[in-house]
């Protein structure tokens, strides 16, 4: 196996153009597992670890441009204020060692439905910045990025440069189920993001379908209910039935299966509970009656 180690982003794109079958490796937390378990078979690997641009983030115009290689540990430490949902999810990724190496770019590249970053990216309305040497930058709405289990919308000559994420305009939450209290892959996960300016609700469901999913109907329902109640600023009383309905709609949006981590039925159930709880925490809602 051949390893290419481009020193710049431009070299990386050229390497990918020259070797469209090549895999990309950054923190190694997914790719190395495949290599160690003899499940990675590309003849060429492009190591993005030297491309320093990938490990930078910047904030402007109400948006964070998060380099694909910024490790989760830095997201937890540096981005809690602008990207609270993603920061919450980042804290649940693996272990400190994994958070020191793993990155959102890796989650997107692997496109495993269980990746912890996906739900907050979906809920927060992220856009993936893909790039190729031939065609330059291509922006892909994250909801269109996931095509299937471990399949994403990248073209063979493209690499992920960054994720563009609106700075939170309201509370965000993330919650994840696993049968261990640390270092666990999601049996299912859920993120919710409230945009108090636009008065919209965003959601993301992880590990309960062939791809990460949004619960569009649930989003519309809750936004309408908040409008009706004038509850967008939070701290209001909301009837239990509204949150229950929100939970049901989130459950209904999932397309889970039975596997070693959980049953489909439990996943649906848990998503409903997480949806209700995270929405209540986010808006500091108390329930009537």
């Amino acid at each position: 196996m051949q390893v290419l180690s481009p020193a710049t982003w431009r070299e990386a794109l050229e390497a990918k153009a020259a070797h469209p079958d090549a895999g990309a490796i950054q923190g190694g937390t997914d790719v190395m597992v495949e290599l160690n378990f003899d499940r990675h078979h590309s003849a060429t690997l492009i190591d993005l670890g030297r491309v320093t641009e990938l490990c930078e983030w910047e904030r402007d115009n109400g948006r964070v441009r998060l380099g694909a290689g910024v490790p989760y540990a830095r997201i937890v430490a540096e981005l809690r204020e602008p990207l609270p949902g993603l920061a919450l999810a980042a804290r649940t990724v693996g272990s400190p060692q994994i958070r020191n190496r793993g990155s959102v770019g890796g989650n997107l590249g692997a496109a495993s439905p269980a990746g912890d970053a996906h739900p907050p990216l979906l809920a927060g309305g992220a856009v993936v910045e893909a790039q190729s040497a031939a065609r330059g930058v291509r922006l892909i709405d994250v909801a269109d990025f996931y095509l299937g289990p471990k399949r994403n919308a990248l073209e063979p000559d493209e690499l992920i440069a960054a994720v563009l994420m609106p700075v939170a305009r309201g509370p965000q939450q993330f919650s994840k189920i696993g049968t261990r209290n640390a270092m666990v892959i999601a049996a299912c996960s859920f993120a919710v993001a409230f945009d108090q300016t636009a008065r919209t609700v965003g959601t993301g469901i992880g590990s309960a379908g062939p791809t990460p999913l949004r619960a569009a109907e649930a989003e519309a329902f809750l936004a309408a209910a908040l409008d009706e109640r004038g509850a967008w600023e939070g701290g209001r009383r909301l009837d239990a039935g509204t949150l229950e309905r929100f939970g049901e709609l989130v459950s209904a949006a999932a397309r889970p299966i039975d596997d070693v981590r959980a049953t489909a039925a439990f996943r649906r159930h848990a998503l409903g509970v997480m949806a209700q709880r995270t929405a209540a925490w986010a808006l500091d809602l108390s329930l009537e009656g």
Partner: protein, 154 residues
């Protein structure tokens, strides 16, 4: 493939036979540093924890080629001459070592924690060490050791 890096302060140069070799394999089999352990090869146990350019990582998840030019510090590089590092001494004294397979990884992880947070709370210790599995001790004596190490380091 030729790899040049600094390990525990010494410049090392070696040829890797296979491009897919991990840093863990190179440390153990090519540099003869067997302190980092091979317990899961998927970053789920922390037994191969080392510093890569000052950052705590699982050596099994670093491609050897990624360590080109890097500075690596392993459990073998913590003691000074014959004197154990206070973290190591604390693990011995607290009874935190049984079979010891997880121990080198825990020592490096504890070292990293105490560099960043000299007086961690119990909850902080647990969160920082959650990536290091131990099957023998039930962790009780490990927490004792971390606290003792914090006290020793002042």
């Amino acid at each position: 493939m030729r790899l040049t890096c600094t390990v525990n302060g010494e410049r090392q140069e070696v040829d890797c036979a296979w491009g897919g070799e991990s840093l863990l394999y190179v440390l153990r089999e090519r540099f003869g540093l067997r302190g980092a352990k091979n317990a899961c090869e998927q970053g789920e146990c922390g037994s191969c924890s080392v510093y890569l350019d000052g950052t705590l990582v699982c050596a099994c998840l670093v491609l050897a080629a990624q360590a080109e030019g890097a500075e690596i510090r392993t459990v073998e590089g913590l003691a000074e001459d014959d004197r154990l590092h206070p973290v190591q001494e604390a693990f011995v004294q607290a009874g935190a070592v049984q079979c010891g397979f997880c121990t080198p990884g825990l020592i490096v992880t504890t070292h990293d924690l105490l560099e960043r947070s000299p007086h961690p709370s119990d909850a902080e210790i647990r969160e920082a060490l959650a990536g290091n599995l131990c099957r023998c001790t039930g962790y009780e004596k490990i927490i004792d050791a971390v606290k003792d190490a914090a006290a020793r380091l002042g």
